[in-house]
């Protein structure tokens, strides 16, 4: 790269590193600003309660005190299991519904397809609290309160617009010719989807699924309002540390760190896939 730049554009050779330095600094600053709360939370989790409410400082003697306290208090594993089941369950269900719908919209569009897509997305602009009471009452009447099934349903509904929309754009990018060639070769619609469409759009489907998992994992509004103990996921677990005993920052931070750790590691492992998927249409 350097060689190439020097040999082709010697005039730019001097100005480019400065430009690059500035851009790098800006990039790092933004990344740090975004990451700082998480960093601070992790640090606070290793402080004592007194240190946590003292003047903010990076210098402290780390302790596992809070983690021990958090661990002693309640079953992290149960909440974590609920989170996993609900996040992956709702993602699976959402994909199951969204793949056929996105297929129809991408390959057999009608005059109203664009409108339907926009309408679906517009439901995401509605504040969820607007439908809290009706949903709560419905859930109560059909016995879905504090059940994983209930949460899976609500998360599926919550993520479906985004999942359909994303899959739609990925499917749109798929060359139509390939599907038509498949049709000429005798593929039924199902075979077309399983043998051609899914393998070829797998990166897109994977990143859509990952996004759906992350959104479901981090969702707090519905989980706090619709669950109490049995089906409560990690978001409810964190919340349980804030109210009843006052604010214990160190314990709260320790609990939060434990709650986001799985998804953070998961996200970090799959980030290559995520970035590829999210920029799929933009950079070819």
């Amino acid at each position: 790269m350097t060689l190439h730049r020097n040999s082709v554009a010697p005039a730019n050779a001097r100005s480019l590193p400065i430009r690059q330095l500035v851009l790098t600094l800006v990039g790092w600053s933004i990344a740090l600003i975004i990451f700082f709360p998480i960093l601070w939370m992790v640090l606070t989790g290793f402080k004592t309660e007194t240190a946590a409410i003292a003047d903010p400082s990076f210098l402290f003697s780390p302790t596992l005190e809070s983690y021990q306290a958090v661990h002693a208090r309640s079953g992290y594993a149960r909440f974590a299991l609920n989170s996993v089941v609900v996040a992956f369950g709702s993602t699976f269900l959402a994909l199951l519904i969204a793949i056929p719908s996105a297929y129809a919209m991408a390959f057999l569009p009608t005059k109203r397809t664009k409108g339907t897509l926009l309408w679906m997305l517009s439901t995401k602009m509605l504040p969820p609290v607007g439908v809290l009471v009706p949903i709560y009452l419905i859930f109560r009447d059909v016995g879905l309160l504090d059940t994983r099934t209930g949460l899976i349903i609500i998360y599926t509904l919550m993520n479906l617009p985004i999942v359909v929309w994303m899959l739609y754009t990925f499917f749109k990018d798929m060359p139509k010719d390939i599907l038509e060639a498949g049709r000429m070769d005798g593929a039924s619609t199902l075979q077309e989807v399983f043998f051609l469409l899914l393998p070829l759009t797998l990166p897109g489907i994977a990143s859509t699924g990952l996004l759906s998992v992350i959104l479901s994992w981090n969702e707090a509004f519905w989980s706090l309002n619709l669950t109490s103990s049995k089906a409560a996921p990690l978001t409810a677990y964190i919340a349980s540390f804030s109210s009843p005993e006052g604010l214990f920052w160190a314990k709260l931070s320790a609990a939060s760190t434990m709650a986001i750790a799985p998804i953070l590691i998961f996200g970090w492992m799959t980030q290559k896939q995520m970035v590829r998927g999210l920029t799929f249409g933009a950079v070819k």
């Binding site: 010719d177 038509e180 060639a181 498949g182 049709r183 070769d185 005798g186 593929a187």
Partner: protein, 385 residues
């Protein structure tokens, strides 16, 4: 082996008619080329034959059976797409065997058939590669191979060579012609390139704005274009058109006055002409000859030397006339040249753009590649057992 008939095919998208009633017959083992400018409906027509698009009206018949409502896979056709449309996640072998895999053909049988096709196309060393590891020409051959293994009654080619570079295109053109001989199958080929049409077709179908302008052998279209559109579309460089004045009609032809005053008699049928009809003269660049005594003259604006030939672009009044001359002409830009043409090489078009019928049929106008083959077969009956 199959015949295809189209009866009054119409295709409408909303209120726009893109195919406006097409009738056509494709004979068994014929190589038919649909040619026309972009947007003429040639691809849509092919997609309707393939079954990827439904006809709004009319009948499509293969071997006399109406197949409008038959699915694309069950029509017994195979299509080669412009983009090749290979399955990128499958090897060459899997690509070619996909249709058989869907049909539940056992693995060994699949492999045997794929190998057979690969042999014809010299693809054997590439069977384990994925499409992205192939060159353009190789991908093209895989796409053709995928069609061959299906053993279709009719091959459909949708501008298969337009993604290849010029040298490869010539090579694939020859290969396709050879393949047609070898497979002895009916082939329909869509292109906007009239050279591909001229070189490969038994029968050319010239399409324009959703209607068939003319159907005929390459030489028939070249020597006897039915109208001004076909005359201008077939042949390269394009035919020259000049406004001329009608001076008389005789049994031997139509007498005209050329721009610049010269008079000629063109051997076409003009009995139906009005005395003051507007006419247009059409002469191909290769039929214009430089001639000191020629009736036409103009100033050379551009001169392209190709070595063996020289193209002269000559300004005559408002028209830029193209002349294909010998490679050794000594003219230079801005020289004035005189030129003429043999009247039997000229075409006359009436105000509606229709050609006046030639009084003499060109001897080669009926020649097709199929006639050639039939001729050799009948000439040596002893060897054809």
């Amino acid at each position: 082996m199959a015949t295809l008939q189209l009866k009054n095919i119409i295709k409408q998208f909303g209120d726009t008619k893109v195919i406006k009633g097409i009738d056509l017959e494709v004979n068994d083992r014929e190589f038919v080329v649909f040619v026309g400018p972009s947007g003429c409906g040639k691809s849509t027509l092919m997609r309707m034959i393939a079954g990827l698009e439904s006809a709004s009206d009319g009948d499509i018949l293969i071997d006399g059976k109406r197949i409008n409502d038959v699915g694309p896979a069950d029509r017994g056709l195979a299509m080669v797409f412009q983009s090749y449309a290979l399955y990128p996640h499958m090897t060459v072998e899997a690509n070619m065997g996909f249709s058989m895999r869907l049909a539940g053909v056992p693995k060994e049988e699949r492999r045997a058939k794929v190998l057979e096709a690969a042999k014809i196309l010299q693809l054997e060393p590439l069977l384990d590669r994925k499409p992205k590891a192939l060159s353009g020409g190789q991908r093209q051959r895989v796409a053709i191979g995928r069609a061959i293994v299906r053993n279709p009654s009719i091959f459909l080619f949708d501008e298969p060579l337009s993604n290849l570079d010029a040298a490869l295109r010539v090579q694939m053109r020859i290969e396709l012609a050879r393949l047609h001989e070898e497979l002895d199958a009916t082939m329909i080929y869509v292109t906007h390139d009239q050279i591909e049409a001229m070189t490969m077709a038994d029968k050319i179908v010239v399409l324009h704005d959703g209607v068939v302008e003319q159907v005929g052998s390459p030489m028939a279209l070249y020597h006897h274009p039915r109208n001004r559109f076909v005359a201008g579309f077939i042949g390269s460089p394009k035919m020259n058109f000049l406004p001329v004045t009608l001076t008389g009609v005789t049994p031997e032809g139509v007498e005209i006055r050329l721009p610049g005053g010269g008079e000629r008699s063109v051997p076409v049928d003009g009995v139906h002409l009005d005395a003051n009809a507007t006419l247009e003269l059409g002469v191909r660049p290769e039929h214009l000859v430089l001639d000191e005594q020629g009736p036409l003259s103009g100033q050379i604006k551009v001169l392209e030397r190709l070595g063996g030939q020289t193209s002269l672009y000559v300004q005559m009044d408002d028209e830029l006339i193209t002349i294909m001359a010998d490679g050794d002409v000594a003219y230079r830009v801005n020289d004035t040249v005189r030129f003429g043409f043999a009247p039997e090489r000229a075409h006359l078009f009436d105000a509606g753009g229709l050609a006046l019928t030639s009084l003499q049929q060109h001897p080669l106008a009926r020649l097709t590649r199929q006639d050639n083959r039939a001729a050799t077969e009948s000439a040596s009956p002893g060897e054809q057992v």
